[in-house]
Symmetry: C3
């Protein structure tokens, strides 16, 4: 039997909004340590990894490991029916073919339960090796989202170049070209407004803006985003989920044809 009670139900709503455009169907894996998901986007280019650790739940019972296949669009429809202040409980029986989402309003005068059919989904769990990244950038998540959105009005790909001085986002399209430079900046009032750049060596990689813009759907989950890059490795765009875990998006860099934008 599975019963996971999350006081801050809005977190789960935001998680779904962050991944449902990228992933259609996916297995949620429950074990004693947490509630997680790993899935490729439908064109098998980007990878999403979600972890919500058991300690973050007010109540967490998972008698045996369960993998529950869900249609994320349908799951999102149900979670949208939860109020932002509702407590959400996820319930399932071992071997059952449904999952139940229970929503309790803060004053307990409204209790909803939504039952959804589970699906059989083939999936392979990729091992993601721990890596030392050559460049790690932490910056305000809204700033990152704004830059990705702005540049996609000009071009299709973005070159991200990190050096000690700052990180440069560049694009080029039919109507012209654009460069946005964010400088390292730690003298800010609130720590989440800082832009912090850790560099082993300068890196410059090219990515499809379409995917970067999908990743930024996770912006409501966290004030900051961490972008990790190494030559020839997929970029990692990570949004921490306060005291519970993270959503990480992986995307392989583009090769060759975009080199010229890189100049």
């Amino acid at each position: 039997m599975l019963e996971l009670r999350l006081l801050q139900g809005s977190l789960l709503k935001k998680v779904l909004e962050a991944i449902k455009d990228l992933v259609t169907d996916a297995n949620f894996d429950c074990s004693s340590t947490g509630f997680s998901l790993q899935a490729m986007d439908s064109s098998h280019v980007a990878l999403v990894a979600l972890l919500l650790r058991s300690e973050g739940f007010e109540h967490y019972r998972c008698d045996r490991n369960l993998s529950m296949g869900m249609n994320l669009n349908n799951m999102s429809k149900m979670l949208k029916c939860a109020g932002n202040d509702d407590i959400i409980t996820i319930k399932a029986d071992d071997g059952g073919d449904t999952v139940t989402f229970m929503f309790e309003s803060p004053n307990q005068d409204k209790i909803s339960d939504f039952e959804m059919k589970l699906m059989d989904i083939d999936s392979e769990h990729l091992g993601i090796p721990e890596t030392e990244y050559e460049a790690i950038i932490r910056m305000p998540s809204q700033e990152f989202a704004r830059i990705c959105r702005d540049l996609s009005s000009i071009g299709d790909t973005v070159v991200i170049s990190a050096s000690k001085e700052g990180v440069k986002f560049s694009t080029r399209g039919d109507i012209g070209s654009a460069n946005v430079v964010c400088r390292q900046n730690t003298s800010v009032d609130k720590p989440e407004d800082a832009t912090v750049i850790q560099i082993q060596q300068p890196v410059s990689l090219t990515f499809a803006l379409r995917y970067m813009n999908s990743f930024t759907k996770a912006t409501p989950l966290s004030n900051t985003v961490t972008v990790s890059m190494s030559s020839e490795l997929p970029i990692v765009v990570e949004y921490k989920i306060a005291e519970m875990g993270y959503i990480r998006f992986y995307l392989a860099p583009k090769i060759e044809e975009d080199e010229e934008v890189n100049s």
Copy 2:
């Protein structure tokens, strides 16, 4: 001659927004006691009854009974041109074929008059018998609207089941099923936040969510909604209009095929 001056013109704007999606053309009936409307929706399934009592108007002159046929969509276009703080006056001559809406801005520096052609509309006035209802539920109107909207993302019909403990809204669709239970709750800070259930005997009836969602367009008119139900009788969904009257929506329950959802 007819001249009705309504200080709180926004009320009339809200009334139109509440009924214009349900009813295309309708006769507004004016008598010495008030301004009223009774109309079936275009598919002849739901009934709307509006009453604005003469006492609620700042000035109310109606020399003889008048029935004015209006296209509600056109009337709504004109009322949308009134500011929210404007005073609205409705004027018509006996036997004339137009009605005039006059809007006065609060400081009287802007005066608008909109003249609309009247229509001949056949209508029969249904007598609606006064009934003792088996279950009467008063609840926050926004809560009711939210539940109807949420459930319509899952299914097409709603089963409303009222008992002493609470009222349950249920639906079922391709992606799963949902139950929302609102408990009787009178210990609230503001009286309009209460959920009050008066029960002669438990009732459970099934309705098309499409219509329920149309009715909730009246939500801006009142903080609370009153839902009255008896077996085999149409449900009444009533929004009081402060110190003036009401909008009531009537809808017959669905029979048979939905019984299974009722379990």
Copy 3:
């Protein structure tokens, strides 16, 4: 070489939003006295004239007169990437075929530059004679925009009639007719809320509402709008740009067929 630094970058964003729906491509003319534009709309009915005087810029360098042909839609895409608090600098080389927009965030930690290709655009500069207008109306720009929008839900043209007592906006359409009268009103708390009417002699002219509604896209630039009219002359709708200049829209009145509305 050209280098124009504007502290209040949002002004330039608003200017583009004000004219880009009316004009597709246009030459921006730079001289030592200012940055200006004159263009007909694509159907050659309305004329836009923009002036931003050099004194309004924090830094203004224009070595020789330059006429830069730009696609306003593309320019708008780029300016939308500037933050509302950003400083915007426009740069171009003499004889170059690109213009660069540089955006600096208030705390200087984000610097963007957007480079756009210039176009060759044939244009003739119309001399607009200075005229004494028979009626000049200054009123809140939002009020003017509201009236044009409201009336266009009823009819296609507006008759604007100015007299000492006030200004009347009238229209007529299939569903009825409308008159909005704004009275002279100078006893207001804030000067920008005043409606001030200067009359040499009463004027009544008819205009296409479609254009009037386009002009009101400039509303965010100024709290007030000035409307100048003389019989048989184009109307001038002017939005002042604080301490820098103006946007003026010119539109010829309609003749004959609309006279009847004029009654």
